[in-house]
Amino acid sequence: MAAESNVQPIVPRSSQYDNLLAQRKKNRRKAQARSALPLYLMMLPGLIYIICNNYLPMFGILIAFKKVNFSIGIFESPWCGLDNFEFLFKTKDAWIMIRNTVCYNLVWILLGLVISITIAILMAEISNRKAAKIIQPVICFPSMVSAVILSFLVYGFLSKSYGFLNTTIYKDHPINWYASAQYWPFILTIVHFWQSSGQSSIIYMASIGGIDKGLYESARIDGASKMQQIRHITLPMLRPMITLMMLMAIGKIFNSDFGMFYQVPLGQGLLIKTTQTIDTYVYRALLEMNNVGMSSAASVFQAIIGFLLVIISNAIVRKVDSENALF
């Protein structure tokens, strides 16, 4: 009997003990919230900006599904289902603008990758630091030029009567550049890379700067040539950045640089065949037809396709090389 009395019976936890635990948990949460308060306050301005600038305008999606009548307001306007989308894709320019947008983007993404990386590698190989410090800002300068200035620079080259090309190279057979659509894919591509490749190469330059110099020294001792060092060290080390930049570019494949496609060709209607993109079409639709619904439908289309493309390409990257996937 004595032995039995020494055995401690297993009893359920008292409610008092549970209350104590709950109270402790609550106190801990309060303390955590208090310590995080400055961080939340610091986050607040950015959060307000994002909500106002990026999220609230999303309600504008409504416009894509309404037949907008400004006299009664957006919310009172009648719903029209997918009519705006149908109208967008049924126009005779739909194929041209989608083809132009996607093709320009594809070529520019791929060519841009090669050009930016090449510039970055060449810059990294400049042993004269002084020269590098001059060249870097010089190649980045064009990205600071606004579309309007850019359009006048291009006009200076391509003007039929006074343009540099027609007064020098094509003196005998002047070309009316602003009436010949077939030249513009090349003109826009050259202008785009002149303007953007310096800036986009900076990202790769920064990545190259972060590569361990020991790798190159090791390769030198192993007898690797400069080209082999680039192939076997620089490019593999740039792969995560290349993937990231590609994914970001793919997400914007249905967007285009409005300034480049509208200002540089001076909005010439004769060039629409090769310069019309979704963005310029939306602008023209607003100006000429005052069709807000269709313009909004085009934006929704760009956003949804862009989002889907990022998800799909990221899934492909994750399958091929999971380390470099975005998410």
Partner: protein
Amino acid sequence: MSELSLENLVKIYPFTSTRRLFGRKQARDMLAREQAMPYTTNEGVIAVQQFSLEIKNGEFVVLLGPSGSGKTSVLRMVAGLESVSDGTIRMDGKVINDTPPPDRNMAMIFQNYSLYPGFTVYDNLAYPLRNLHMPRAQVDEKVRAVAGLLEMTPLLDRRPSELSGGQQQRTAIGRALVRDPGIFLMDEPMSNQDPALKARLREELKRIHRKLGTTILYVTHDQTDALRLGDRIVLMQDGMIVQAGTPQELYQHPRNLYCATFLGTPQMNVFRGIPVQEGKIRLMGRDISLPESIKKAAGGMAAVTVGIRPVHFVPDPRGIEGTVDYTESIEAECHLHLKHGNEAFTVVVPKTSGRPYSRGETVRVMPETDRIHLFHPQTGIRLD
């Protein structure tokens, strides 16, 4: 296996340029700092000066020194990654000052191993051979032989990111071995590892050296690496050799106070001693007998610097009195940090020797007579 001879090597790095558009103030400040450094010329900062060393066939030589002592500059000059400002580098009697790195018949292992990230272990090992345009079958044979030697055959298809620190180091050693170089150059190859792995890697490196008998020039700031690995240690300070010799020579007969305090854990205790009569010195109020070899060394001097390693004290009821400030229990030893007036010193006693020591307790210790080192109080040069 090869011999290496370094004769009066000098390396001067040019001063920071102040002729720049931006950051001129910073550049001027930097230049002023550089010019105020102890070793400068009109051309720049001297990183290595009058460095002469002979490395025999199959010898494992360790360049030891703190950051900025010039050890890595020496290694990089030997590898051909840095130009030589003055002096001569000979390998097997041939001057190689201007020989490009791949033609020097040397292999280098870097601090972070520098394995090619996009390659598998196999490709990393094969890479130097492919650059030599060796036939594919021969490359395969050599790579597999080295992988077998380093017990890495199952890892050949892995990429560096999938390897542990030890496996990465073995791959780096393999990449060096596969070329069958005359000399291995190693630039702090273990500094990124945790102590347990470091100990294992040291054993592995020692085993490989024993097996292949290759000449190795190893750079480290870690005295444990130097003492355990090197056949010979070259201790450096301010770009110059302070002392070169076997680990025992450096530990037991340090040439100066810098060498004495740099080697050994815990650091050697340094006291001010007053010679009282021939063969005796007064240390913290106690007259201590000096060993035969240095009895006359302190003669005629008002004071000398006395160095005694913490392991060379023994408990003695008539010894120097010290109050325990704090203790550290490390493996089988107990480190007693004692205070005697303003003097602080450390004594190492085996844990098995007796009771635990507590703060404030008084202990009496005596240095082992034949383990006392005397140094000149101004120059720090050993007296004997």
